[in-house]
């Protein structure tokens, strides 16, 4: 197990492994996405209150889940990179941020589109919207810091620190905003006794969540590959790779 991680940390091994994994993940992601979309948009029953417009939930909720999940992955990778000086973990931190920002933005936009018919307004300063917006700012700050520092390794390590500081702050920000103002509907899936969402709606939602996660892994691997190549461009194996492909 430890040897596997040791091997994984080598950029060359990672590059080759991710190259073989990417097509499989892409196919799985597409499969889940098609099933989830069909189930959600066609099969799932119409909501008795919100009509068909609730169907945006199948994009909105997985995107919102991903926005937090990616931040946790990023901070975890940051901690690993700082503690064990693992270059690959640093690459992951840097590659996570734009994807996370994109999902956060998607969650905000779809929420806004959903809010217009439901609440009659594009934007309200509601607790969850606000904390999602602040999460977006955190992502953008991380990306800005990463771009501003010239040396790539220093940039990645500075970014990791910021990501970890952010993780400590996210629950505090979340609860402070929660007490400040709340209009958003309460959680409907994570109530442990009985989810207050219909099973026929829950299944496509979970399928979509899996599809989004696979998409995240896919895009993370692709970004990380580019980042690895850029960082290792002066090494033997990248030169050989470049010669093979010309």
């Amino acid at each position: 197990m430890l040897r596997f991680f040791h091997k994984l940390a080598s950029p060359k091994y990672f590059y080759n492994l991710s190259g073989t994994l990417i097509p499989w993940i892409a196919v799985a992601c597409l499969g889940f996405l098609l099933v989830g979309l069909y189930d959600g948009l066609v099969d799932a029953p119409t909501d008795y209150q919100q009509g068909d417009s609730y169907r945006i939930i199948f994009i909105h909720v997985p995107a919102a889940w991903m926005s937090l999940f990616i931040y946790m992955v990023m901070a975890g990778a940051g901690a690993i990179g700082l503690i064990w000086h693992m270059k690959l973990a640093e690459v992951m931190v840097v590659s996570c941020a734009p994807i996370g920002a994109a999902f956060t933005f998607l969650a905000l936009v779809t929420g806004s589109i959903w809010g217009k018919p439901m609440w009659g307004t594009w934007w309200v300063w509601d607790a969850r919207l606000t904390s999602e917006l602040i999460l977006l700012f955190l992502y953008l700050g991380i990306m800005a810091l990463n771009n501003a520092v010239e040396d790539k390794r220093t940039a990645a390590r500075a970014t990791s620190i910021l990501a970890i500081v952010g993780v400590v702050n996210i629950p505090i920000i979340h609860y402070s905003v929660e007490w400040w103002n709340t209009l958003h509907q309460g959680p409907t899936v994570t109530k442990f006794d009985a989810p207050s969402i219909d099973t026929q709606m829950l299944i496509p939602l979970l399928v979509m969540a899996v599809a989004f996660k696979l998409y995240f892994v896919l895009s993370l691997l692709m970004r990380a590959r580019v980042e690895v190549l850029q960082r290792e461009r002066n090494t033997q194996w990248v030169r050989e790779l470049a010669e093979q492909n010309t």
């Binding site: 700050g141 800005a144 810091l145 620190i161 500081v165 400590v168």
Partner: protein, 227 residues
Amino acid sequence: MSTAPLSHAFLILFKRDLTLAYRKRAEIVNPLLFFVLVTAMFPLGIGADPAQLRDIGPGIIWVAALLAALLSLETIFRSDFEDGSLEQLLLCPHPLSILMLAKVAAHWVTTGLPLLLVAPLLAVLLDLPEEARSTLLITLALGTPVLSLVGTIGVALTVGLRRGGMILSLLVLPLYVPVLIFAASAVTTAGAGLPVSAHLFLLTALLALAVSLSPAATAAALRISLS
């Protein structure tokens, strides 16, 4: 070679920073002027209706305090970075996080504490109710150290950058949200004549958390920035 005890090093660094700040008094005054000016802009922008000002006064004062804290933050490491004494601190045998705490404490005494002195004036300008004024001071006393502590992490991350200022605000402002929410709502609540102990306890908790964790993060960030 024997080294001075940690408490001694802490005090020496604290006194040194205070002395440096005292010799450049203009730098203490500038954030204060900024604080007063920003607050004075709001009545000009939204109209002089006293009732309206009373409603939004706590928010205005706190946002202005946030911006003033942000503005003054950049100076905390600048001269030390330019003349190289920051690197000497890194080489010092004492734990860097404690030394950072000394620097932040000195910085707060010279930039955060003066805000407390002009805040009553602003409270009068914005016609805050009598009961809210003391709460405003308490929230500033509890909140501005948190701003300094958390902000210093951001400064440590951006210390070597040419255009650090813009990025600093992007990094630090989202982290200031909890302080802003609890502090401003405490003042508003006090103005309505309701008890505010819950808000103050939460602010104190934030302060305790920031004092214990942020110097370590600052130290780690500084080691990376200067490596």
